[in-house]
Amino acid sequence: MIKDSQLFQPFSEKPIRLMGDAGEWLGSFELNLDSDTLLKFYRDMLRARLFDERLLLLHRRGQVSFVAPSAGHEAAQVAVAAALKPKKDWVFPYYREPGLLLALGVPAVELFGQAMATRADPNRGRQMPAHPGSRDFNVFTVASVIASHLPPAVGTAISMKVRNTGEVVVASFGDGATSEGDFHAGLNFAGVQGAPIVFVCQNNRYAISVEYHKQTAAETIASKAEAYGLPGYLVDGMDVLACFFVMREAVARARQGFGPSLVEMQVYRLGPHSSADDDTRYRPVEEVETWKTRDPLARMHRFLAHRGLWSREEDLALRTEIEREFRQAVEDAQRAGAVPLEWMFEDVFAELPDHLREQRRDLL
């Protein structure tokens, strides 16, 4: 197992950062990304932010039953998508990742369709909001049971390894997931097999209300990699460039056969856990306000403006464009119509067995 990378050291004491609070470049190497790439990062982050805002609006109108806001996580999610080959590599996301799916190219209409359980949802309305999945984009359908997607993600990576397909898996999860047995089962087996997988922990310091230090006595999540024989990287998860460069290396190493890594992206959930949560019961408002000054979008905005790549006018125009896109996507998702009752009995098995045929007949 190779534990070093070209640019970054695992197990650093401080999070890897490439962008300062004022948007200045901090890297020790030359930034070799073209402006289109940099602007795409920002665009994808803004789409994630506005997607959430649209969902919250739909929730207030009673059109969506549940929202898990991802504001604060956008840089981490967009960077993961940018480090992958969409439709070739696989992602096993958790429930708070619209930014990842949108940046991979999953159409917004499918995600709104999922949130509203209409026919626009390729998952056929089978789950509550925030549980999307897409076969077209190799996005494993989200399950609510925390960390339960990690052993399957490792299985997919082992399949890639034994068949030498050159594909890579990214499996992502929050800090709470690291306390589950499946986290251990997954990282341990992946390490033994040297499977091509990158584990990404979006550590937002709270599992609903339970704060980080009640979740683990370890200083960092990244340090847990050591015990599995993997490199663990500690990254400023609100710095899209740091997340991207670390992910790019981890993915390349996995693809080249050098095995898995664990990347901890330190983020902060700027909103409540969900539309059913009141976060003022467990964290001080001042803390939230402090973290808001590190907003990943604002920081990237400053970075781009600093380099003369972005203006307030361009920003307003982009917002208007995205909002128009999402309004249309919501309309399309609604127009697709409710899922029909007959679908209740389908997809339990590949073929409808007799007992379900009888139950369907009794109901319909």
């Binding site: 390729p122 089978r126 359908t141 399957p152 490792v154 299985g155 034994v162 089962a185 087996f189 067995p353």
Partner: protein, 324 residues
């Protein structure tokens, strides 16, 4: 393949399926060099190598979860859980991932995989090597559940399981692993799920069972024969789907039925069979269906013989249904 035991048939069938389809891989604890603690994967590691016969860490969650991910990516994994009792550390992967994947993804993803496990008591293994957890599986929509009782059926059902497009829990009667030797055909054959096997024809009472208790049920039928009572014996072979048609037809004709399963009585699979019979052919019943089952205690190490539904308890139940 000539005369073979159940456990020899499993190894032989896995070999045939691995040769037929290179997507078939095996994973589990000790399945590699050791060939499985019961030798159900004997010689396969030497033949197919470590990429197709994967010794895993000691983690049922890793075994079942990884099998799900392999299946999603196009392999046909056959996972071994060393004893059915150890399904519980991997139970969430079975219930939350394998069973629900097709449904929750709207058919976009599926997990065609087999989870093999030796089950049942009578081997002096105490409660963590003797349980019969089949009710947990049939109560989980999305799983198919199979439980053969003979070498012949083991081959045909295991082939069907490996070729099936859904997750199949393949329970194996461990106390019969080496107890029965029979002629197993050389040719490639599959046995359809949901088709019971009529093991004996008879007119006075119907005995229904599956898995390891088929042996005791057949012994009871022999004893009844000596008393001049003719018993029809049905081996369900698969529990989900189960062959309602055959069971209802036999019981409707004979009118009396005894249902045998060694799992605990509460919500025993046979309770489902009994409920179905009373709902669907009540008029044809001459006596209430009687269950002969394990007891609602943890599996008791020191009382194997009393706990398991042996021929004597089955005969007692037959006397009861005949007394109506």
């Amino acid at each position: 393949m000539g005369l073979a035991t159940i456990v020899q048939t499993i190894a032989h069938t896995l070999d045939e399926e691995m040769r037929r389809d290179d997507r078939v891989v095996i994973l589990g604890e000790d399945v590699g060099k050791r060939g499985g603690v019961f030798l159900a994967t004997e010689a396969l590691f030497q033949k197919y190598g470590p990429d197709r016969v994967i010794d895993t860490p000691l983690s049922e969650a890793a075994i079942i979860g990884a099998a799900v991910g392999m299946a999603v990516h196009g392999l046909r994994p056959v996972a071994e859980i060393q004893f059915a009792d150890y399904i519980f550390p991997g139970f969430d992967q079975l219930v939350s991932q394998a069973a629900k994947l097709r449904y929750r993804s709207g058919g976009q993803f599926s997990a065609p995989m087999v989870i093999r496990m030796p089950a049942g008591g009578g081997v002096k293994g105490g409660h963590h090597h003797s349980q019969s957890p089949e009710t947990h599986f049939v109560h989980t929509p999305g799983l198919k559940v199979v439980y053969p009782s003979t070498p012949h059926d083991t081959k045909g059902l295991l082939k069907t399981a490996i070729r099936d497009d859904d997750p199949v829990v393949f329970m194996e009667p461990k106390r019969l692993y080496r107890a029965i030797k029979e002629e197993v055909p050389e040719e490639d054959y599959c046995i359809e799920f949901g088709k019971a096997h009529l093991r004996r024809k008879g007119d006075d009472v119907v005995l229904v069972s599956y898995g390891a208790t088929m042996a005791e049920t057949l012994k009871a039928a022999d004893a009844l024969h000596e008393q001049g009572i003719s018993a029809e014996v049905i081996d369900l072979r698969s529990l989900l789907p189960w062959d309602k048609t055959t069971v209802c037809r036999s019981v409707a004709r004979v009118g009396r039925v005894v249902l045998v399963s060694e799992a605990p009585r509460m919500a025993n699979f046979m309770s489902e069979v009994s409920a179905t019979l009373t709902e669907e052919i009540l008029d044809a019943l001459l006596a209430p269906p009687i269950r002969v089952t394990g007891f609602d205690t943890p599996y008791p190490y020191a009382y194997d013989r009393e706990y398991l539904p042996g021929p004597n308890r089955i005969l007692k139940a037959v006397q009861k249904v005949l007394s109506y």
